[in-house]
């Protein structure tokens, strides 16, 4: 889960990514839901894009800029079942059942500089 400005990104394991407007904390509102093919375990926000650890379906990238349901923008297959993700510099590191972990170059334009460029989900 990621809190960013007035938005919170919540993962629904079966339903995928949900974007909640929390500008009024007493009245949170669901803005958009974007499903993923697998079970969404963890999300990392990098600019306008969400990198999702999607068990059975690797790493999924969603464009969340429009706050509208959007097709998957990119997928990286992994050998194991991804359950965790973090990003350091230009690489995503995925924790995987049955396989250890993978390093995936995610040099998307919003993430091409040095240092951390997004927010890690709890």
């Amino acid at each position: 889960m990621v809190a960013s400005g007035s938005l919170v990104l919540v993962l629904d394991r079966v339903g995928g990514l949900e974007i909640v407007d929390v500008a009024n904390p007493l009245d949170p509102r669901l803005l958009a839901g974007m499903n993923t093919p697998g079970y969404a375990w963890e999300v990392y926000l990098a600019g306008d894009h969400c990198l999702i650890a999607d068990e059975y379906f690797g790493l999924q990238i969603l464009d969340a800029s429009s706050l509208q349901p959007a097709p998957i923008a990119g997928t990286a297959n992994t050998s194991g079942q991804v359950q965790g993700i973090d990003v350091v510099n230009r690489h995503a590191y995925t924790a995987e059942r049955l396989a250890g972990f993978s390093v995936i170059d995610v040099s998307v334009p919003s993430c091409s500089g040095s240092g951390q460029c997004g927010r890690h989900a709890g």
């Binding site: 050998s79 396989a99 972990f101 390093v103 040099s107």
Partner: protein, 201 residues
């Protein structure tokens, strides 16, 4: 004296530049992320990894059976396990800040681990809690824990060797993950959606 004409040269160059800029704009608007993702490297751990958090040179893998693995990512294409620490619990969410790693260790509460020497991580503090801890996030000197029995727990870690529970919010049903910004804590719950709480301890 006839000066060399630069106009006749610059016009096609300008045209090319305009086309190049236009192509860049189109490219920027139509990024195919599928073509940008590249598997760079990996490493097999003895059992499996289900959590990961990184800093500039290392990532810390949580293995529910074998504990913590410290992996050197100085060369992302050739990661290497450089340190290991068995954990009593199942090593769920974790955050790293400075020399310390904070880990929600399922039924074993919260662990604080010194990772100043990545080749020799060691315990420095522990907080026993009832129930199980899964979600964890760190903000300043406080760790926010999602605990199945106690709800949202706020733990003072200003002294990493002696983490102290300062507040809990048990009215939450069954917390799973937690995120914090400057004004509120956000807690996702099993089958109960999202709760928003004042975060200040």
């Amino acid at each position: 004296m006839n000066r060399p004409s630069t106009r006749s040269l610059s016009t096609p160059l300008l045209a090319l530049a305009v086309i190049a800029v236009a192509l860049q704009v189109v490219t920027a608007d139509c990024i195919d992320y599928g073509s940008l993702l590249h598997w760079t490297g990996g490493i097999q751990t003895p059992y499996f990894a289900w959590t990961v958090v990184g800093d500039s040179d290392h990532v810390y893998l949580g293995d529910p059976q074998n504990g913590l693995y410290v992996v050197d990512i100085t060369d992302p294409g050739s990661p290497k396990i450089v340190g290991h620490l068995p954990m009593p619990g199942q090593s769920h969410d974790r955050e790293v800040a400075g020399d310390y790693l904070y880990c929600a260790d399922w039924v074993e509460g919260m662990q604080v681990i010194n990772v100043a020497d990545p080749t020799n991580p060691g315990w420095v503090g522990h907080l026993s809690l009832p129930g199980s801890c899964n979600g964890l996030t760190l903000r300043d000197n406080y760790v926010y824990l999602a605990n199945r029995d106690l709800g949202l727990c706020v733990v003072d870690v200003s002294d990493p060797s002696s983490p102290t529970l300062v507040e809990s919010e048990p009215s939450l049903g069954s917390p799973w993950k937690v995120a914090v910004d400057g004004t509120h804590a956000f807690v996702s719950e099993h089958a109960n959606g999202l709760s928003i709480c004042p975060p200040e301890p």
